[in-house]
Symmetry: C2
Subunit: 198 residues, 2 copies
Amino acid sequence: MGRVVCDVTISMDGFVAGEGQSLDEPLGRGGEQLHRWQFEGLAQNTSEREAITAAGAFIMGRHMFGPQPGDYAESWNGWWGQDPPYHAPVFVLTHHVRAPLHLDGGNVFHFVDQGIHAALRQAQAAAGSLDVAIAGGASTINQFLAAGLIDELRLHIAPVTLGAGERLFPQVPAVKFTPVSSRTTDLVTHVVYRRAED
Amino acid sequence: MGRVVCDVTISMDGFVAGEGQSLDEPLGRGGEQLHRWQFEGLAQNTSEREAITAAGAFIMGRHMFGPQPGDYAESWNGWWGQDPPYHAPVFVLTHHVRAPLHLDGGNVFHFVDQGIHAALRQAQAAAGSLDVAIAGGASTINQFLAAGLIDELRLHIAPVTLGAGERLFPQVPAVKFTPVSSRTTDLVTHVVYRRAED
C-alpha cells in the first residue's frame, strides 16, 4: 500500500487561501499569489509540480470539487472542466452523494458521504501500491492531520503574506513531523515532512 | 553600512511563542520546543546558530530584555545573566529609560524610548559596517517588518505546532520577500528571505 501524502501551498503567515472566498475568487483575496510557482516557475519547480499529481488516487473536500450544492446542477463538473489534472480516481467528501462523474483522461470523481476514514479506504483500494494524495482544501487537510493519517506533508511556502483567510493547523492537535528536505526557488520554498515515529 | 537582519524561530503553524507567557515560562506553553535546534542540534546547525550572533549591534523589545517594569529592580540584568550571547551593543525598546547596563564580554544594553527608527539609527552607528540584528520578540519584529526595514529575514521553522500563542506577521501589511535559500536538519528548516526589489 502506498503512503498518504499531502501537498499544500501556504503563505509565509500560514494561510492556504485568502479572505472572502467566492465563486469569482475561489482562492479568496490575494490567494492566487500563492500558486504563482505552479504557473510561472515551471522549469524551476518541475519535480515538485509533477509529484503533486503522481498519486494513484486523490481525496478532496467538496468545496475544492466545486461550488455549494444548490448553486450547481447535476451536470456540473466542478471547477476543473472536462480534463482535470488528476488522471486518476478522485474521492470527494460530501453530504450529497451522486453517481460517479467520468471525465476525460482517466479522471473519475467519486462522492463519499461516510467520512474521511471511509474515503481513505476507498482511495487506497483504488490506488493499489501508489500513494493517496489529500488534495485539499484546508479543512479536509486539517481533518486528516488531526486524525494522524498523513505520512508525508509537502509544504510549499510562497513568499507572500495574506493577512487573513483560511489557515492550516487550527484545531489540529500537536502534530509530529520530521523535516526531511527543503529546496528554494524564486517563487517558493518546498519543505517535505514525514510523520515522526513515536 | 550593514544590512538589517532578523532571525526568528517559528512553529509550523506560525507561532514564535506559546500561549501563557510568564516569568516562569517566558516562551509560553510549549514554546521551548521551538528552540530545540539551538540546544540539541548543535553540530547540524552551527552556521545558522553562529549567524544569529554575528551582527555588530542588536535591537530587542523590552519583554525580550526582561520582565515587566515594577517586577524588577534597577539592578536587574534581564533574562540573560551576567554574560549574554550578544557580545555587542544591544538597544532595548522601552518606555523606561535607564543608564546603559554593562555586562561581561562586551555586552552593553542601551535603553531607547524614541521608537524603532531612533533605535535603528543608534544601532547602525554602533554596528559600523556590520549588520544590525532585530533580535525579537514578535511585536518588535512585526514593527520592523511593517516599516519595511528588514533586509534579510531568516526563518527557522521548527517541526512542531503550538496551536496558540504569539504570531509573526499579524497587522503587518503585505511584505515583499524573495526566498534565497533553505536547508533542513532533523530539528528545523532554515529559510533565508531577502527584501524584494520593487
